[in-house]
C-alpha cells in the first residue's frame, strides 16, 4: 500500500501519456509505408514490381506446365483514351520470356499524360509475375490524337506454386496530365 503514500507526480505521467499520443499519431502514418512494404512482399493487394526485374535464366524454363494469363485493360472514369492489349489471354511456361503489346490512343484534341497501374488477381500470384520491361514503369505522354504501341516484357517466376494455373493482369490507365505538368513523380522508379 506504499503507493498510496508516495507523492503523486502528475506531470511525469502526463508527459508519458502525451508522448504515447504523439507516438500513436506517428504510428498511424508509419502504417502507410509498412502497408506498402507488406503488400510488395506478399502481393496482398495485387501490386507487381514497378521497376525492371532481372531477366529470366533461360535454363530454368519449366516446360512441364503452362500458366494462363488473362489481360484486362481499363481507362479511369472520364479519361477519353482507348487502351487495349493485343491479346486477351496467353499461355506461357514458367520462366519463358514473352512480350505483349498494349495500344493507347489519345482521342482528345490536347496533349495528355497517362499512367497505367497494374494489379494482379489473385494477389497470391503477384510476386511471381516479373516484368523485365514495361510501359507502366513510366508515364505515357500522348500528343493529341496520337496512338502509341507499348510493349510489356515479362516472365513468370518458375517458383510459382502449382495450384496457380490462371491469373489476371489488369491495367488501369489514369489521367496524369496535371500531375505531370506540376512535376510530381507518380510512380517511383528509383528502386
Amino acid at each position: 500500500m506504499s503507493e498510496q503514500h508516495s507523492k503523486p507526480d502528475n506531470s511525469k505521467m502526463i508527459t508519458r501519456l502525451l508522448a504515447s499520443v504523439v507516438l500513436m499519431f506517428a504510428f498511424g502514418f508509419a502504417l502507410v509505408p509498412l502497408y506498402e512494404k507488406f503488400c510488395e512482399v506478399t502481393g496482398f493487394n495485387g501490386r507487381t514490381n514497378n521497376s525492371a526485374a532481372a531477366g529470366s535464366d533461360g535454363n530454368l524454363v519449366d516446360t512441364t506446365r503452362l500458366v494462363t494469363i488473362e489481360f484486362h485493360t481499363r481507362v479511369n472514369r472520364g479519361l477519353p483514351w482507348e487502351f487495349s492489349s493485343e491479346v486477351r489471354r496467353l499461355q506461357v511456361h514458367p520462366g519463358e520470356t514473352t512480350t505483349v503489346n498494349f495500344t493507347a490512343t489519345n482521342r482528345t484534341g490536347r496533349d495528355m499524360t497517362g499512367q497505367a497501374l497494374p494489379s494482379v488477381a489473385p494477389g497470391e500470384a503477384a510476386p511471381y509475375l516479373l516484368k523485365t520491361e514495361c510501359f507502366c514503369f513510366q508515364n505515357q505522354p500522348l500528343a493529341a490524337g496520337d496512338t502509341a504501341v507499348m510493349p510489356m516484357q515479362f516472365y513468370v517466376d518458375p517458383d510459382i506454386p502449382n495450384h496457380i494455373r490462371t491469373f489476371t493482369l489488369s491495367y488501369m490507365m489514369y489521367d496524369m496530365t496535371e500531375a505531370a505538368a506540376q512535376g510530381r513523380v507518380v510512380v517511383d522508379t528509383s528502386e
Binding site: L17, M24, F27, G28, V186
Partner: protein, 534 residues
Amino acid sequence: MSTVVDTHHEHDDHHDHKPTGIKRWLFTTNHKDIGSLYLLFSFLMFFAGGTMALVIRAELFQPGMQIVDPHFFNQMTTMHGLIMVFGAVMPAFTGLANWMIPMMIGAPDMALPRMNNWSFWILPFAFIIMLSSMLMPGGGPAFGWTFYAPLSTTYSTDSTALFVFAIHIMGISSIMGAINVIVTIMNMRAPGMTYMRMPLFVWTWFITAFLLIAVMPVLAGVVTMVLTDKYFATSFFDAAGGGDPVLFQHLFWFFGHPEVYIMILPSFGIVSAIIPAFARKPLFGYASMVYATAAIAGLSFLVWAHHMFTTGMPVFASLFFMYMTMLIAVPTGVKIFNWVSTMWRGSMTFEPPMLFALAFVILFTIGGFSGIMLAITPVDFQYHDTYFVVAHFHYVLVSGAVFSIMAAAYYWLPKWSGFMPDEGLAKLHFWCSVISVNILFFPMHFVGLAGMPRRIPDYALQFADINAIVSVGAFLFGFSQLIFLAVVVKCMAKKGQAAVAKPWEGAEGLEWDVPSPAPYHTFDTPPKIEAPIR
C-alpha cells in the same frame, strides 16, 4: 462489507461557494459540474441524432422516394452515425466518468481539473462546426460515418474540411478526457483503494482510457490524410498516385474496432455495479471481470479486418481475423456468465436501473450473437453492408451501450439530483423502450438476410412490410425517450421524493457514503478503505 472510516468530514457551506449563472458553468473545474455538462450535452445530441434517425425512417417507411432527396438522405445517415458515436455515447460515458470516478475512488476531484474544463468546452464547438457544415453549398458530409475514401476525398464536397476539423477537436477532447481519467485513477485513489479493490466501473473506464489514447491519434491521422488527399495533392488513398483506397479501410478500422469497445466497456462497468446492487449479492468473479475486460481490449486491436472481408483479402488473413474475432466472444461470454451468476439465487428486485441492466444483458447478448455470425467470413459476404449489420450494431449500441447509460442515469440520479427518479414514469419509459427497440431493430435482421442494402434511400418492394414495421418501431422508440426526458427534468426541477444517501438497499461503493445530492466537494479528506467494497 464496506468499511469506510472517516467519511464524516466537513460538508460545510463555506466549501460550496461557487460562481453563479453562466460563469459557473463556463469556468467550472468541478468534476460534478463538468460531469453534468457532459451528460446534458450528450442528452441534447441524443435527441439531435435521434431526429435524424427519424428522418431516415420516415423516408424508408415506404419504398420509393417521398420525403428527402438521396443526397440529403446520405447526409442524414452520416450525421446520425457521427453524432450518436461522438456526440451521444462517448460524452455520456465521459460525463459518468467525471461524476463517478472521483467519488468511487475517494478522490476530491479529477486530477487535472482545468484540462477537464477544456476537454468539455471544445466539444460543443466541434459539433457546431460539424452540424453547420450541412448548410454549405453541396451539403454536409454524406459519405457515411466511416468516411471511406474515395467517397470522402475525390467525391466529397468542401464541407469535408470542416468535418476533418470537427473530428480533430472531438479527438483532442477525448484524448484529454482519457489522460485525465488515467492520471486520476493512478494518482488519486484513497488510501487502501488498491487496484483490485476499485469498482468495475472504474476499472472498465481505466482500460477504455488506454484504448482512447491508443486509437484516437490514429483517427486523427486518417482524417488528416483524407484532408491532404483532397486538398494538398497527396495520394495516400488514391490509386492513380500510387496510393491504395483499401489502406484507408485498414487505418480506419484499426481505430474503428477498438472504438466500438470504447463504447461498450464502460457499459460493462455500469452493469457490474447495478446487478449486484439489485440482486443483493456481491459481483460474481470480480477478478475475472477485470481480466476479461483487459483481454477484450487487447484483442480488439487484432480483429479490425472483420469489417473488410469483402475487400478481397487473402484467405489466410481472412481466417486469422475470423478466428481472432471469435476469440473475443470468450471473454465477453465470461462477463455474461458472471452477471447471470451474480443474479443466481440473489434476492432480486426490479427497480428501473435493474430493469435496464437486465435488458442490457439479454439484448447485448443478441447483438453479440449476430456479431459472431458476421465474423464467419464466408457468410459475411452475404451479410456485409446489409441491414443485418445495422441490426447487429444497433443491438450492441442502442440496447447495449445506450440502455446501460439509461440504467446508470436511473441508478445515480438520486445521488446527482437528490431526488428519486419518478418510478412510475421510469418503468413506463423502460417498457416502452424495450418493446419498441425490438420492433425497431429485430426485423432488420430479416430484411438484411434477404439482401436489403444499408445506406440506400429506396428499396425493393418485397421489403416494404418489414420496413413499415421498423419505422413504426423507430417512432415509438424515439417518442418513448421523451418520458426519459420528463423523468430527468423532474429530478432536475427537484420534484418528487427526496433521496437518502443510499437509496438502493443493496448498493455498494463510496458514492453512497456521501449525502444525496452529493455536496459540491466530496472526500476533501480521503476516506480510508480497509476492506474491498463490492
